[in-house]
């Protein structure tokens, strides 16, 4: 319609203006804000998705620009809000403070270095949805192992070393094995060194490292336990699906005023005691202990900040 008008005599300036307006409006359509968009590789992004890095530093998608229709919108611009968590104080007495590093715009999914995920892991369960029976799966072809042709009866203690078939290759070749995310990445917010906060008083067991004869390691709970008091801060050492090993710091709790040892500690610290405030020193064993807790008993520090609408813990 615009071009039809443009060919009428004497209307050239108006035509140009209208065309320009059309281009502008088209461009604006390309950059429409949306809450969800799709990348070229088929993955999708949503506002509110989060990417975590060490020590609870976090990036959050706050705005998405997309092209195309509402049903099929391609990500064009991704606005990310970045925060960092700092420790303030000494191991005897410290708190956490979240600082905003600002916002940045990424021009498309190609610039995304991190994996952004939804925080919630709840879903709508439907019987028989997204599942397939292993009866219906094609039998996997037997692995290429040289032992299939050998005579097992010929193996005895005289030649047992030769009877061992080396597991140098996986049963099924999987090119993605190396790229496979470590187990802890299943809970993005509970990466190693992430800061966590004890929701309630927790009875937690100390842990031991057991070696088997083949020198493989296992972590075993010890008989000795202790109470992690509500509000204690700690850092994740390792996480499973539902549990985590956490290094808790006594110095993160506000102690009762007038406790003699606390007074002495403060004096000692101010008088130039052995500790200087260096962030890494929080990894020292000063008033710290490592125990195993359930993930339900702790909360990631950013979630705590968000819920409490604050950017610092206590003190």
């Amino acid at each position: 319609m615009t071009f039809a008008i443009g060919f009428r005599h004497g209307l050239a300036p108006l035509t140009l203006f209208t065309v320009a307006l059309g281009i502008l409006s088209t461009d604006r359509a390309l950059a429409l804000d949306t809450t969800r968009c799709t990348c070229a590789d088929g993955s999708s992004l949503e506002t509110g998705e989060i990417s975590y890095s060490i020590e609870s530093d976090r990036e959050k998608i706050i705005r998405l620009e997309a092209t195309g229709s509402a049903l099929d919108s391609r990500c064009k611009g991704i606005w990310v809000h970045r925060t960092r968590v700092h420790t303030r104080g000494t191991p005897y007495q410290f708190f956490l403070q979240r600082k905003t590093l600002g916002e940045r715009r990424l021009s498309g999914c190609e610039d995304l270095d991190e994996k952004f995920v939804k925080r919630s892991k709840t879903y709508n369960f439907v019987f028989d949805s997204d599942s397939v029976s292993i009866r219906e799966m094609q039998p996997v072809s037997p692995p290429k192992t040289s032992h299939l042709g050998t005579d097992a009866k010929a193996s005895s203690n005289q030649n047992v070393w030769n009877a061992i078939i080396i597991d140098d290759e996986p049963l099924i070749s999987d090119e993605n094995d190396d790229k496979r995310s470590p187990a802890e990445s299943r809970h993005e917010e509970f990466k190693r060194t992430s800061w966590v906060f004890a929701r309630r008083n927790i009875k937690a067991h100390y842990l031991g490292l057991r070696r088997d004869p083949d020198q493989s390691h296992h972590i075993v709970p010890m008989k000795k336990s202790r109470v992690v008091e509500a509000g204690q801060l700690g850092q994740i050492e390792a996480a499973q699906m539902d549990r985590a090993i956490v290094r808790f710091y006594d110095g993160s709790r506000i102690e009762t005023f007038g406790r003699a040892k606390n007074v002495v500690r403060r004096w000692y610290d101010k008088a130039g005691g052995p500790y200087r405030e260096v962030k890494d020193d929080l990894y020292t064993p000063v008033r710290a202990y490592i125990v195993e807790v359930a993930l339900d008993d702790i909360i990631e520090i950013n979630d705590y900040f968000d819920q409490q609408k604050t950017d610092r813990t206590g003190q």
């Binding site: 919630s120 709840t122 599942s131 032992h147 995310s181 010890m222 390792a238």
Partner: protein
């Protein structure tokens, strides 16, 4: 127990169970800890129809303390219904060798290496036998001078160690006078790896060529020379020498029997730590007359232990003076950074999981374990709601949970139940498992989970003894292995709302 006391006295616990605190904390903080429960898998074993039994931890010994250790097994589900232990299929084994090494300061130590990890297929078709692991040795129980992996006497700057086997032996024709010679160089060591192929492995740990450690300080007779004569007085060698606890050696040959087996062993000089009092007198070393322990001595079996038992009991792969070298040092410096891979190793890839389930007929095993089980409702009011019941493993109280992708949960489809049991009926409401399937759940287009995420669904069909229709029950296990343990896990989760009863007698 005595050994633990010894360690406590010397400020250390055996490293077999090292409290995590010792990664970053000093040893003193370890003292308050006590070891946790015994490993549950310690007794796991499978057997063959001819009576042979293969237990995890069992070993066979070869030349130079090389050994083959059982680390696991696959069983035959079709042959193991109700059998204990299950019928063996393949054995998972580890081949290890022991090498004599030299710390940078020249002191010897022994190091164990994992050389070959793999499978012995169809073990029951072979003629291979293993021996069960022995009861733990009470090392150094009698004299209290425990051998500990102390770093007090270890070289501080030791960064690497050399296998002594690699050093050329300069002169094979040796004189009997060993004064001034490096005895380590004189050991008839060869490449231990190359001749394992032709080495028979048996249950004898103490044998010719085996490395040993002396359990406690004791006197030992100096062995006769090869021609059978005792040491000549002119050689100025005593007839009896004192061997410190923790001294390393190597069995040369059998030396008869005197209420127990006797062994002629080559003692490795300076392989044990100095006693504490000796360390204090280092400055006055010249004043202390050191009684050199050299050459071959005769030791009874009760005084020595094959070195693999020492490694196993103390959870190490090296003896004294090796603790600061190579991988041992790097392991120490890694601290807690290794915890994630130990605590939460990468999950089994789905393709491998399914392939192993198919190979070992896991579905048949699961069917045998589950079909016929009866679930008796503890709360009769549950049925009246006609809603799906969600039970979470983490919540033992049985309160309803929200479906969570990372939780092990069971979903009972009470909403599918047609009709409801009569309110007047007073008998137990029982549901019988009639059908079993295993499914792979992979959420499509989910931004909540990594792309390689999957869950194993144990899909059960329940036939109620009341009402019509069948009730589906799915227990979902994120990233679990497909095996019969899924049934145990499911019954644990369900037990908060159901009483689990075995199948009726006479039922197939």
């Amino acid at each position: 127990m005595a050994s633990t006391q010894s360690f406590l006295r010397s400020g250390r616990l055996p490293p077999v169970v090292c409290v995590l605190a010792c990664f970053g904390f000093g040893p003193s903080q370890v003292l308050a800890q006590s070891a946790g429960p015994e490993p549950a898998d310690a007794q796991r074993a499978c057997s063959c129809s001819d009576g042979r039994r293969f237990a995890i931890g069992a070993s066979m010994f070869g030349k130079n303390s090389a050994r083959i250790l059982i680390t696991g097994f696959h069983s035959e589900p079709s042959l193991r219904a109700g059998s204990d232990p299950p019928h063996c299929s393949d054995l998972l084994v580890l081949g290890q060798i022991v090498q004599l090494m030299q710390a940078p300061d020249g002191r010897p130590f022994l190091k164990r290496d994992n050389l070959k990890r793999g499978t012995i297929p169809r073990i029951c078709d072979t003629r291979i036998t293993f021996i069960e692991p022995k009861k733990s040795y009470d090392f150094f129980a009698d004299d209290g001078s425990a051998l500990i992996l102390t770093d007090d006497a270890a070289p501080q700057a030791a960064a690497s160690a050399n296998p002594i086997e690699n050093k050329p032996v300069e002169d094979t024709e040796q004189s009997e006078d060993l004064t001034g010679q490096d005895l380590l160089q004189l050991l008839p060591e060869k490449n231990a790896i190359s001749d394992l192929r032709d080495t028979p492995f048996d249950e004898q740990d103490l044998k010719e060529g085996a490395y040993i450690i002396v359990r406690k300080r004791s006197k030992a007779a100096v062995a006769e020379s090869d021609d059978g004569s005792a040491p000549h007085p002119s050689q100025n060698r005593p007839h009896e020498v004192t061997i410190p606890a923790g001294t390393l050696g190597r069995i040369e040959k059998r030396a008869g029997f005197q209420s127990e087996a006797l062994w002629t062993a080559e003692i490795l000089p300076d392989s044990a730590s100095r006693p504490f009092w000796s360390s204090l007198l280092v400055a006055a070393k010249a004043l202390v007359k050191q009684q050199a322990v050299v050459g071959k001595v005769v030791l009874p079996s009760s005084q020595i232990v094959e070195i693999n038992h020492f490694f196993d009991q103390y959870g190490v792969n090296w003896t004294n003076f090796g603790a600061d070298t190579g991988e041992a040092a790097s392991e120490q410096s890694a601290g807690t950074t290794r915890l994630p891979e130990i605590y939460s190793p990468s999950p089994l890839p789905l393709e491998k999981n399914v392939a192993e389930a198919q190979k070992f007929h896991a579905l048949e095993g699961i069917e045998k374990a589950a079909v016929g089980l009866r679930l008796v409702l503890k709360n009769r009011e549950l049925l009246a709601k006609h809603t799906m019941l969600v039970l979470d493993e983490a919540d033992t109280s049985g309160t309803e949970a929200a479906p969570d992708l990372f939780h092990r949960q069971c979903f009972v489809g009470f909403d599918r139940l047609k009709g409801s049991p009569s309110e007047k009926s007073i008998g137990p409401q029982t549901l019988r498992i009639t059908d079993v399937d295993v499914k792979i759940f992979q959420p499509k287009d989910s931004e909540q989970v990594p792309t390689d995420f999957y869950a194993i669904d144990l899909h059960l069909t329940l036939q109620p003894d009341f009402g019509d229709g069948r009730i589906p029950l799915v227990c979902r296990f994120p990233l679990a292995s497909i095996d019969v343990e899924l049934v145990d896990a499911a019954t644990r989760i369900l037990s908060s709302k159901f009483e689990i009863r075995p199948r009726d007698r006479g039922e197939p």
